[in-house]
């Protein structure tokens, strides 16, 4: 190693260039083949995304076989809620227009839990005007019903005010205007 000091510095500079070059080499080795074909992403990702089986349908796909529920649901306050939101994914129930499985039916306290997912006052970041929220069991106490009541004992799950409005009509308590 009889290099002069100046020569050593030049060798260090050369070393940096070589390292940069090796860096670019590594980059080309590490990059997926289809990267940059269409834009700043891996083009194969599109094909892979297309091949992912569809799990969710739309409300109209459910309504094709469930006209009774459809009629109530469309008329109620929950008309904009997706069926799958409470019942589970379409793909677990139907495949190629054939029934393949039964979606789990919520009962008892499961229903209350499900309702409170949206209607809980504890969820602070939500305007009262958008979704009516309640605190449990205050709501049951205020309505003077048993504290063991589940939500669906007063509210129809597809059209929450269906029974309540009907009851008010029958008892003549329908508010004027």
């Amino acid at each position: 190693m009889g290099f002069s000091y100046k020569m050593r510095l030049i060798l260090v500079c050369l070393g940096i260039f070589v390292m940069a070059w090796v860096g670019f080499l590594f980059k080309s080795l590490l990059l997926p083949d289809s990267f940059g074909l269409y834009g700043h992403f891996r083009a194969d990702a599109i094909t892979e995304a297309v091949e992912v089986p569809v799990r969710h349908g739309t409300n109209s796909s459910c309504f094709k076989c469930h006209p009774f529920e459809a009629k109530i649901h469309k008329a109620g306050l929950h008309s904009t809620i997706s069926c799958e939101f409470c019942h589970g994914p379409y793909a677990d129930h139907v495949a190629v227009d054939k029934k393949t499985g039964t979606l789990p039916v919520k009962t008892g306290k499961q229903i209350t839990t499900l309702c409170l997912r949206c209607h809980n006052t504890q969820i602070m970041a939500r305007s009262e005007e958008v979704i009516k929220t309640v605190a449990m069991p205050d709501h049951l106490r205020n309505q003077q019903v048993k504290l063991t009541h589940d939500c669906n004992q007063c509210h129809h799950v597809h059209a929450p005010l269906k029974y309540i409005n009907r009851a008010k009509q029958i008892t003549g308590l329908m508010e004027k205007g």
Binding site: M1, F3, S4, R8, L9, K27, M124, R126
Partner: protein, 402 residues
């Protein structure tokens, strides 16, 4: 939540749109502060690097002779913190190893990739400056050291013991060249950190072209303060004399940068309240509500006005050297905290308001959390550990009698 409501109520009194602010309507995705304390540390640490480098640059490039006692130390100080500059970022990430993906496929629409490259360049430049500045010392140490330390010295001196006048002249030229590159690189490194915040269009407190400038000047303030404090503390602990002329020059430089930093910080608030653009009511509500104590009391009154008065006294009156040094250490300490609070107010404060423009959220730091207080203390301790190790290899202080 009650305190937030109370403070927003207080805020609304001062700007007169009580009904809007009292609703405290926060979007669900704004409730949680996503960029928490690690992202506060990130600009803080890069800022310390920047300021310390300025001190070294003043000596090596602009020939400010009085800074000789701290010039080498400030380079090592900058390196110790630069080694940890990306640590808080990586700790913040859920999958830290994915940062390489960003660097492999840099995208002009991603500001963070740019930071990665600027960081790498500044690390290289600073490393070479230190090696060349220390070369004569390292060659000397090589002959007196034993074992692995000798091997290390051989490697970092490029296995050359040539300290002839010609070689040292060449070194001096390269150092000047590297420092000349280093200043813009350091400025870009930290200006870019400011830009990363300033470039977030969705956040009205961040989205201002002043942000990089404010970050840059406050970075210089924190770095110079850190060097002053570290110099005084280390020398005192080691029972070595403190160079008074050096302290005076550093305090004067600090005063200059601090006046600029504080002016720009206030100018930003002033332009927000005068222009009354877009979300000005939210920004005003934020500064007078959730940030009332941490911004107006701690950052402005205690952290800025008080040091400004003390620095004024130090500049105008002729003080005894021990009192001057004591005040210099005190002011530096306060300014170090001020810059940390400023980073807090920008990073966390900026996220306390919801995009709904109708409500504020809260942030409570946790002790035991990935980004908690203990983690912050550990991350801030690592650069000092590195500095300690560096001190064993590179002597901090230049010999007295040259």
């Amino acid at each position: 939540m009650n305190t937030a409501l109370a403070s927003t109520a207080f805020a609304s009194d001062s700007i007169g749109s009580a009904t809007m602010l009292l609703s405290n309507y926060v979007f669900p995705n704004d409730l949680h502060v996503h960029w928490s304390m690690m992202i506060v540390l990130y600009p803080y640490i890069t800022g310390l690097v920047d300021g310390a480098f300025i001190i070294a640059a003043l000596y090596y490039l602009f020939g400010v002779k009085s800074l000789r006692p701290v010039a080498r130390f400030s380079l090592l100080f900058a390196l110790a913190f630069l080694c940890c500059a990306t640590l808080p970022l990586l700790l913040h990430l859920g999958r830290p190893e994915r940062n390489f993906n960003m660097l492999l496929t840099p995208n002009p629409s991603s500001a963070m990739a740019g930071f990665g490259y600027i960081y790498a360049v500044s690390m290289g430049v600073l490393g070479f400056i230190i090696l060349l500045v220390y070369r004569p010392v390292l060659v000397e140490l090589r002959s007196t050291s034993q074992g692995w330390l000798k091997v290390l010295y051989r490697v970092i001196t490029l296995d050359s013991i040539d300290v002839s006048e010609k070689a040292l002249e060449l070194d001096a030229k390269i150092i000047r060249f590297l420092v000349a590159i280093g200043i813009p690189v350091a400025a870009v490194l930290h200006g870019y950190v400011g830009f990363i915040f300033g470039g977030v269009k969705a956040n009205p407190t961040w989205s201002t072209p002043l942000m990089p400038v404010i970050f840059l000047f406050s970075a210089c303030v924190s770095g110079i303060s850190a060097v002053i404090l570290a110099y005084i503390v280390i020398r005192k602990l080691a029972d070595q004399p403190i160079d008074h002329g050096c302290i005076i020059t550093m305090v004067k430089t600090l005063t200059g940068f601090f006046i600029l930093a504080f002016s720009f910080e206030m100018l930003e608030v002033f332009s927000h309240s005068y222009l009354k653009s877009g979300y000005h009511h939210m920004v005003e509500g934020l500064l007078n509500g959730p940030l009332a104590s941490s911004f107006w009391f701690w950052q402005v009154k205690i952290g800025s006005v008080l040091p400004l008065l003390v620095l004024g006294i130090m500049g105008i009156f002729k003080l005894r050297s021990y009192l001057y040094n004591f005040l210099a250490a005190g002011v530096s300490g306060i300014l170090l905290v001020q810059v940390l609070i400023m980073r807090w107010n920008v990073v966390i404060g900026g996220q306390l308001m919801s995009k709904s423009a109708r409500g504020y959220t809260e942030f409570h730091p946790l002790w035991f959390d990935k980004e908690g207080i203990i983690a912050v203390i550990i991350v801030m301790a690592i650069p000092f550990a590195i500095l300690f190790v560096l001190g064993k290899i590179f002597p901090f202080w230049a010999p007295e009698n040259k």
